[in-house]
């Protein structure tokens, strides 16, 4: 194809730069500066897709972001394929591979088009009416059918190959739109030196001025004025000009989100991001987003070749493309006349069919006739002729009273329709501003602003060029705190229209399919049916009929749908209201929203100073909150079970080494430190001597266990508090909350030291001998350094806070060293312990060893509803303390009632059976369903040291059930267990004091 519909001259395309792409496999050529739509039209291609529900042929309807029908799959290479691109906004780029959608097997022959024959079935609420019964059909028949039929394009199934950027920006004035109003506003706002950002969704700034034909501003051709204005703005350092940038969301406190399309229009992005998400915080927002043309509603108004009138003008003037050689403009207003005159000048045969009476027309009438255009006033449109392309427009005279005269078919290959204009109030509405209906303009206009915002120009219903410029300038100045004004002289704009909901017709209304929403295949008939069926709220009508949904969000259809609903209900239009405008204004890629947060930057992955050593030694890792912790260290040929069994034995028989660096740590310092600890933990702290440790149990105010950990008193006024790995931030926040808001009088300060210290746990009978050669300044003998003591000294020359503590029940040390020394000290310990067969172990072995001792893990044995007594830790509570967080709640009725679940041990009858964690416990497996659940298994392991499987569970009144049999669910049915003491190993606790 050779651009037969390209005009010999004119337009803003670069004719020296041909660009080729493919459409459904055919190679097509356009020029730099084209959109897909303009290039397709230049080659005479109107029919580009099938509609959503009826699979009717659809063409390009618009030149902008309101396009409902021309949705294409666009590929820019592997990993760079998107569905549902509006042909009217995709910039042409060499090598694009584009395809039409929603048809099978081909665009020209589509099996789904039979839906069109059954259209009486696919009425409003079709889904709700059809897919109701029988229930059994839902999974197998209805849902698969809906899933296959629904949706437009096909989602990509390979990772996105592009990079996406994010940018927070601040400005005094954000101007939305670079049409005449926006440019004038930007000029005025930036004049003050304030920071100004100006964004426009199109590739080229200028808006409607880019397709101006006769218009002048201050005596200059409009395009010339745009060029000069942009040069002025560009030269100002306080201005950021962002073409190709869609302002899609207006959020709280002038937080505005926009997507900049950075590289889609170039062949090689060279590492630059595809899109950039801007999050702008603006002092004031000037919305100059223009207006959208309304289509006319008549039978078969969806034929390929039917375009919006203004879009015909854009294709002619801006892209140098004639969408048809014989064009009929069907209109109820003035603006289409300018399009007609321009098309006529470009060489088309042009006719205008205007619904308005001759007397209601303005100067446009004389102008068109003078240009040689035939104008039929007081004519309605009955329908179109053609199948995959419009071949004729059926019109008929209509009187003021609505009587319709004889039909006449106007031969044509293109129709430009115009039902008037709708201000683009989406962003204003998103900002929570209140809309007000303007009867003269038949439109909702921005009323009361909710934020620092001004909507101006066509977005405010002002359609005259000079007025837009003047108002834009004043709004921009005011937004920047200036009172400056400017006068602009400009060509008067042809404006004014007669609102019409559905074009009068003499056809049988039951057979007419006049489309309101082209993307969702919603007809006027559907909307009337919905109202008849009792849907009165516009929000309900929207959801029942799907009008105004999907990718275009009803940009073209909303006003017509509203008008029809109001007409059916016989209520004034403003009382029907509008549906809520929600972000995004136009479809936004997931990539832009995700930005850099993917792969390694999806979430921070926290690792310890010893992590790399563990990687080098073959550890498997598990995620614990954001941390990656060594899970177990398999040797060649070992599975997890074998590795954990070996590690468990090694710790109890010799010595093991474990990376405990992720434990949360808080330094609590100040004269009131002990008093503060007394209030935050159940335990007594005032008399704990410096150099001693204590297991601390922390409750929430509701009396339930929140966290636990060993606490060392470093000095009279200094505690080294440890928390669970996952609880570190929560505990610090909890402490800080009480300190600042309840007890600001306490002189105590909290500092997170989780990451200041690496923590190496050395556990087992050989622990002392392992570390002794490395430690200086500390007497490690059992007499001088007993269990639950803490000493400061040096290890490998590095300062250490050395804890003699154990979470395994063995002789053990937890060695805190400044984090940068962690790896070196770990390696030294590993070397030193070799002669004892030192074994690195991971979190799984740690879990087994502590379970053998019946030590709880907060979050495993507890779930936010467990008290100290429930897990056998009531003895930790300092009864003499008048108060601590949670104390009062421990006396709540439910917390002292009988029947609470208590921590017990369970032995399955089969010692090789490892119960499932979370499995339910019942007394009698033969009781009727629903059974009485007594509790559940909280921890369960195969224990090599006990020589059988062990489990911890919380069971109602469990401590009274010692020795009895209960039953636990397993995948194979119930299994019998006996209730035992939860300490399975070294019940007397002798080993820990070795």
């Amino acid at each position: 194809m050779a651009q037969h519909f390209r005009l010999p001259s004119g337009g803003r395309i670069d004719r020296s730069k041909p660009v080729s792409f493919t459409f459904n496999g055919s190679k097509i050529e356009g020029y730099q500066g084209d959109t897909l739509a303009s290039a397709l039209l230049a080659n005479g291609v109107h029919f580009v897709g099938r509609s959503f529900k009826y699979h009717r042929p659809r063409g390009i309807m618009s030149h902008g972001s309101d396009e409902p029908s021309a949705l294409l799959s666009v590929s820019r290479g592997p990993g760079r394929t998107d569905p549902n691109n509006r042909a009217s906004v995709v910039e042409l780029r060499e090598g694009l591979v584009t395809k039409s959608q929603n048809h099978w097997p081909s665009l020209n022959f589509d099996v789904g088009a039979v839906n069109d024959l059954f259209s009486p079935v696919f009425v409003a609420g079709f889904y709700y009416k059809t897919f109701m019964w029988p229930r059994s059909f839902w999974d197998k028949v209805y849902e698969p059918f809906i899933r296959a039929a629904a949706g437009l394009g096909v989602a990509p199934d390979v990772p996105d190959a592009d990079r996406y950027a994010n940018r927070h920006a601040h400005c005094d004035v954000l101007v939305v739109g670079m049409g005449p109003t926006g440019l004038a506003a930007a000029l005025a706002a930036s004049e003050t030196g304030k920071r100004v950002i100006v964004a426009d969704e199109q590739a080229e700034p200028g808006g409607s001025l880019l397709h101006a034909s006769e218009e002048t501003i201050d005596g200059k051709p409009a395009a010339e004025w745009v060029k000069e204005t942009l040069a002025v703005l560009d030269a100002r350092e306080n201005v950021i000009l962002l073409p190709r940038t869609t302002v899609f969301g207006y959020y709280n406190h002038n937080h505005v989100a926009m997507t900049e399309r950075v590289t889609d229009h170039v062949v090689d992005p060279k590492g630059a991001p595809r899109e950039r998400l801007w999050q702008v915080r603006a002092g004031h927002v000037v919305i100059a987003a223009g207006s959208l043309e309304r289509p006319l509603v008549f039978a078969d108004n969806d034929r390929p070749g039917v375009l919006l009138a203004e879009s015909v003008r854009v294709f002619v003037n801006r892209y140098g493309v004639l969408p048809g050689r014989k064009i009929v403009f069907a209109t109820s207003g003035a603006s289409a006349y300018q399009a007609a005159v321009d098309a006529k000048r470009a060489g088309a045969h042009v006719t205008i069919s205007d619904l308005r009476l001759e007397a209601d027309c303005g100067p446009e009438l004389a102008k068109a006739r003078a240009a040689g255009v035939e104008v039929l006033t007081a004519h309605t449109v009955i329908g179109t002729v053609g199948a995959k392309r419009v071949k004729g427009l059926i019109v008929a005279p209509v009187t003021g009273a609505g009587a319709i005269g004889p039909r006449r078919t106007l031969d044509c290959d293109c129709v430009g329709i115009s039902g008037g204009w709708t201000p683009t109030v989406h962003l204003f509405s998103q900002s929570r501003g209140k809309l007000a209906y303007d009867e003269a303009l038949d439109a909702f206009l921005p009323g009361t602003s909710a934020q620092a915002e001004t909507t101006v120009g066509a977005s405010h219903g002002d359609y005259d060029l000079a007025r837009c410029l003047t108002a834009g300038y004043a709004a921009g100045a005011k937004a920047a705190g200036s009172a400056a004004t400017a006068r602009f002289e400009a060509t008067p704009t042809l404006k004014g229209f007669q609102p019409v909901r559905v074009m009068p017709t003499d056809a049988n209304p039951a057979k007419v399919r006049a489309f309101i929403d082209f993307q969702n295949d919603v007809t006027a008939k559907d909307i009337k049916l919905a109202v008849r069926e009792g849907f009165q709220s516009i929000e309900h009508v929207k959801r029942y009929t799907t009008t105004g949904m999907a990718t275009d969000q009803g940009k073209m259809s909303n006003m017509n749908a509203l008008g029809i609903v109001a007409g059916q209900l016989d209520r004034p239009l403003p009382s029907v209201g509008t549906t809520t405008f929600r972000p995004p204004y136009t479809p936004t890629t997931f990539g832009a929203l995700v930005g850099p947060a993917r792969d390694a930057l999806f979430d921070p992955i926290r690792t310890t100073p010893i992590h790399d050593w563990a990687v080098e030694h073959g550890a498997k890792f598990e995620p614990v909150s954001l941390w990656r912790r060594a899970w177990y260290f398999p040797k060649a040929g070992e599975d997890m079970h074998a590795a954990v069994a070996r590690e468990c034995k090694a710790v109890r028989d010799g010595v093991g080494v474990f990376d405990a660096s992720t434990l949360g740590k808080i330094e609590v310092v100040g004269p009131d430190a002990a008093e503060f600890m007394n209030r935050m933990y159940v335990n007594p702290w005032l008399k704990l001597e410096p150099g001693k440790c204590r297991y601390g149990l922390m409750l929430k105010e509701d009396g339930y266990i929140m966290d636990d950990g060993v606490v060392a008193r470093v000095a009279q006024d200094r505690f080294h508090v440890t928390t669970t790995t996952g609880g570190a931030a929560r505990v610090l926040n909890h402490m800080e909350d009480y300190l600042q808001t309840e007890w600001p009088d306490l002189n105590v300060f909290l500092t997170s030291i989780t990451e200041e210290w690496a923590v190496i746990a050395v556990q087992g009978p050989k622990a002392r001998e392992t570390i002794a050669p490395l430690v200086s300044d500390i007497d490690l003998s059992p007499e001088a350094f007993p269990h639950m003591a803490m000493r400061e000294g040096r290890i490998c020359g590095a300062p250490t806070r050395l804890f003699r503590v154990s979470f395994t029940g063995e002789l053990g040390f937890e060695i805190n060293v400044p984090a940068d020394y962690g790896r070196a000290v770990w390696e030294a310990i590993y070397e030193s312990g070799r002669k004892f067969g030192i074994t690195p172990y991971g979190t799984e072995t740690m879990h087994v060893l502590r379970a053998e001792k019946g030590y709880i893990i907060v979050g495993q044995e507890t779930d936010g509803t467990v008290t100290p007594d429930d897990v056998g830790l009531a003895g930790m509570i300092a009864k003499a303390k008048a108060d601590f967080v949670g104390k009062r709640s421990l006396a709540r009725q439910d917390l002292v009632a009988s029947g609470r679940k208590q921590l017990v041990g369970l032995f399955a009858d089969d010692p090789s059976l490892v119960l499932e964690e979370g499995a339910q416990v019942v007394a009698d497996p033969n009781q009727p369903i629903p059974m009485k659940m007594l509790g559940h298994v909280t921890s369960s392991y195969d224990s090599p040291n006990v020589g059988r499987s062990i489990a911890l569970a919380v069971v109602a009144d469990g401590r009274a059930l010692m020795g009895t049999s209960l039953f636990v669910t397993t995948p194979g049915g119930f299994t019998r267990v006996s209730v035992v003491d939860p300490v399975f190993f070294d019940a007397k606790g002798e080993r820990i004091n070795a």
Binding site: D737, S889, A891
Partner: protein, 97 residues
């Protein structure tokens, strides 16, 4: 994203903050002396007004300080922020007007 006026740091973006629920719910001086009913009110019962609401906020990823704020739950407008232990300048009725 809200813009919140931290009494220490000035206007900062919402992501730096955390909301701590209703303000001015003081912990009883001597909880052990509080009856069951009153204690359960203190623990569990909070206001949820449509309109101006006194809330606690912390500038978590900033100065780390707790403060109070009057926020209109309908418009998300902050009427004012004020330090812990302080009282708002505007009464909630004035703020609503």
């Amino acid at each position: 994203m809200l813009l919140i006026d931290c009494p220490c740091c000035g206007l900062r973006p919402e992501t730096e903050f955390r909301c701590g629920g209703q303000a001015h719910v003081a912990r009883p001086e001597k909880p052990v002396d509080v009856g069951d009913q009153d204690w359960s009110e203190y623990l569990f019962v909070r206001a949820n007004p449509r309109g101006v609401h006194a809330e606690r906020w912390i500038h978590q990823h900033g100065c780390g300080r707790w403060f109070n704020a009057l926020r209109d739950t309908v418009s998300d407008r902050f009427v004012e922020t004020y330090p812990m232990g302080g009282k708002p300048k505007s009464t909630t009725t004035e703020a609503r007007a």
